[in-house]
């Protein structure tokens, strides 16, 4: 396969905050500028821009991608916004990959932004509008429903306890203590804290859930030739995958995210990964709710079905475990400005693989990492595999 190789050469982000003063386009600019500065590029070196942002309702601007274009560096440039719900943040990296791998672009800036606080009075209410307008919205569903329904089914199918799941929230909020962008890093949080937090939609409790957030993240992608002029430590895009399941989510097995497995298999095949449990050294699965990290580790084939809680309980997924998971602190710890949170995971891999993750650095010089996001009506999986070794 003679494919054009694509490298990640820079990354930057804003803090994740509950309410930002900056406008959405100013947040995008802050992240994009930080990413360009991290690799010493001016905007004139960028050939194209990919924007990732989820519902327009949050920022409160119709055709939000157009509105965000100047802050994302898109003035006068080919600029394209994609979305696949919550999977958008990782997908925009895949989109930047195909921009560069096509041969049409040498340097592409991927920017993901969400300003959820603009939905007023409460961002959660926006989620009513993701349900089917005729067959579901009249029941006045909220986002917690689908998570709670999926979590309950997962627990019921495999006999998993709330306590098993709460360990994920504890791990991620503790990891986030070392993330300079984090909203919810808590060094001393315990499983009891999670289990005693307010019940929102049983089995979902307050501390099982990531927060409503504002923020932006940007990552710079370059062709092999361009990357060689920018950095001597490129991190390579080894694989990408994405997959969208049926919209009829009540017609699906809610205990297992098959769409994540399909996306992962697409990425593994491209990356030449045959034994993911040995070959993936650090993983950033999507964790908007704590059980989702477990669900996704299974879909990524990094744990047997229903067995991810055991890995967590054994410490395998701790930062210094044998398969560190969400060393960034994830959405539960750093925050969840939807698409920005996904791209934050890709940025985290970049920093981890370059040994630049500071207090979050996982030991053992990881050579390959995987970032994954999820979204829509428990429906989409998006996967990016980065590594220090140049693809064949």
């Amino acid at each position: 396969m003679s494919m054009r190789r694509v490298a990640v050469v820079g990354a930057g982000m804003t803090r994740f905050v509950r309410r930002a003063l900056e406008t959405p386009k100013e947040l995008a600019w802050q992240a994009a500028r930080a990413a360009l500065e991290s690799c010493g590029l001016g905007l004139d070196r960028v050939d194209g821009v990919c924007i990732g942002s989820a519902p327009d309702a949050f920022d409160g601007v119709h055709m939000k991608g157009e509105y965000l274009a100047d802050g994302s560096g898109g003035w006068g440039k080919p600029t394209m916004r994609s979305f696949v719900g919550g999977g958008t943040g990782v997908f925009v990296a895949a989109q930047a990959w195909y921009h560069v791998a096509s041969g049409l672009f040498d340097v592409v800036l991927a920017v993901a932004e969400e300003k959820m606080s603009s939905f007023y009075p409460h961002a959660q209410a926006a989620f009513l509008t993701i349900f089917d307008h005729t067959t579901e919205r009249p029941l006045q569903p909220n986002l917690l429903w689908i998570f709670a329904l999926e979590m309950n089914r997962y627990m019921q199918t495999y006999g998993i306890s709330k306590r098993d799941i709460a360990l994920v929230a504890v791990k991620n909020k503790r990891n986030a203590v070392h993330h300079p962008a984090a909203m919810l890093g808590e060094a001393d949080i315990t499983v009891e804290d999670v289990l005693n937090s307010e019940v929102l939609a049983w089995p979902v409790q307050r501390l099982d859930v990531s927060p409503v957030s504002d923020g932006a993240v940007a990552v710079v992608f370059a062709s092999e030739e361009a990357a060689s002029r920018i950095t001597d430590r490129p991190v390579w895009v080894q694989g990408v995958g994405w997959n969208l399941d049926t919209a009829y989510w009540t017609n699906r097995d809610l205990a297992y995210p098959e769409y994540v497995e399909r996306a992962a298999r697409m990425a593994y095949e491209m990356a030449g990964v045959r034994e993911p449990r040995k070959e993936i050294h650090v993983v950033e699965p999507y964790d908007p709710f704590d059980y989702k990290e477990l669900h996704h580790l299974e879909g990524l084939l990094l744990a047997d079905r229903g067995k991810a809680p055991e890995l967590v309980a054994q410490g395998v997924t701790l930062r210094d475990g044998t398969m560190p998971s969400c060393p960034s602190g994830g959405l539960l710890g750093v925050g969840n400005p939807i698409s920005a949170a996904g791209l934050m995971k890709v940025a985290e891999l970049f920093w981890q693989l370059r040994g630049e993750a500071g207090g979050r650095q996982v030991p053992g010089r990881p050579e390959r990492g995987l970032a994954q996001a999820w979204g829509d009506l428990m429906q989409v999986g998006t996967v990016v595999i980065l590594g220090t070794r140049r693809p064949e």
Binding site: L21, H122, L139, R153, Q156, V177, G185, A216, T250
Partner: protein, 172 residues
């Protein structure tokens, strides 16, 4: 305190900063009204609900009966128009006890959303609806339930023509 290598951008505000006018803000409300064409399959579904019946649809090639109905089979891509009335009984596939409304109001008596696998469909072909007429602590996965309909004269061809599902055996 958190370790900070270099401060990252973005300025955090409190609600009081905005509500109190320490920073400027402006509000808008979108006026977005729609009349979505129900079309063939959902049109039939709504018609059925108004008549007190839940319609599914059957794919002859895949030998699968699904609900809500659709005019195409997402598995084989063939057209699908064999509408079949389903029983209004089913089994709770999963459920939640939800103490928050869609617009984030706290409620004392939980809403009980559930995925209900209706009798007569292929495995794992449920619909989203609410449970009622049952104590929250008595709900479990596998519970047998039956639709509680609005009176015929008050049905309008909507998913809410079913008020909720309640355990089989309770009079309705």
């Amino acid at each position: 305190m958190k370790e900070r290598t270099a401060p990252l951008p973005a300025t955090a505000l409190t609600e009081a900063d905005i509500a109190g006018g320490r920073v400027l803000s402006v509000q808008s409300r979108l006026r977005a009204d729609y009349a979505w064409d129900a079309g063939l399959a959902i049109g039939r579904y709504l018609e059925g609900l108004q008549a007190g019946s839940i319609l599914g649809v059957h794919c002859r090639r895949c030998r699968r009966t699904v609900v809500p109905p659709r005019a195409f089979c997402e598995q084989c891509f063939g057209p699908m128009d064999a509408f079949v009335p389903l029983a209004d009984t089913g089994t709770v596939n999963t459920f939640s006890l939800c103490y928050v409304t869609w617009n984030v109001q706290r409620i004392e008596q939980p809403l009980i959303p559930a995925v209900i696998d209706l009798d007569g469909t292929s495995p794992r072909c449920g619909i989203l609806h609410l449970l009622g007429g049952v104590r929250p602590d008595a709900v479990r996965v596998g519970l047998r339930v039956r639709a509680v309909w609005k009176p015929a004269g008050r049905r309008q061809g909507a998913i809410t023509d079913i008020r909720y599902f309640q355990p089989v055996g309770r009079g309705s």
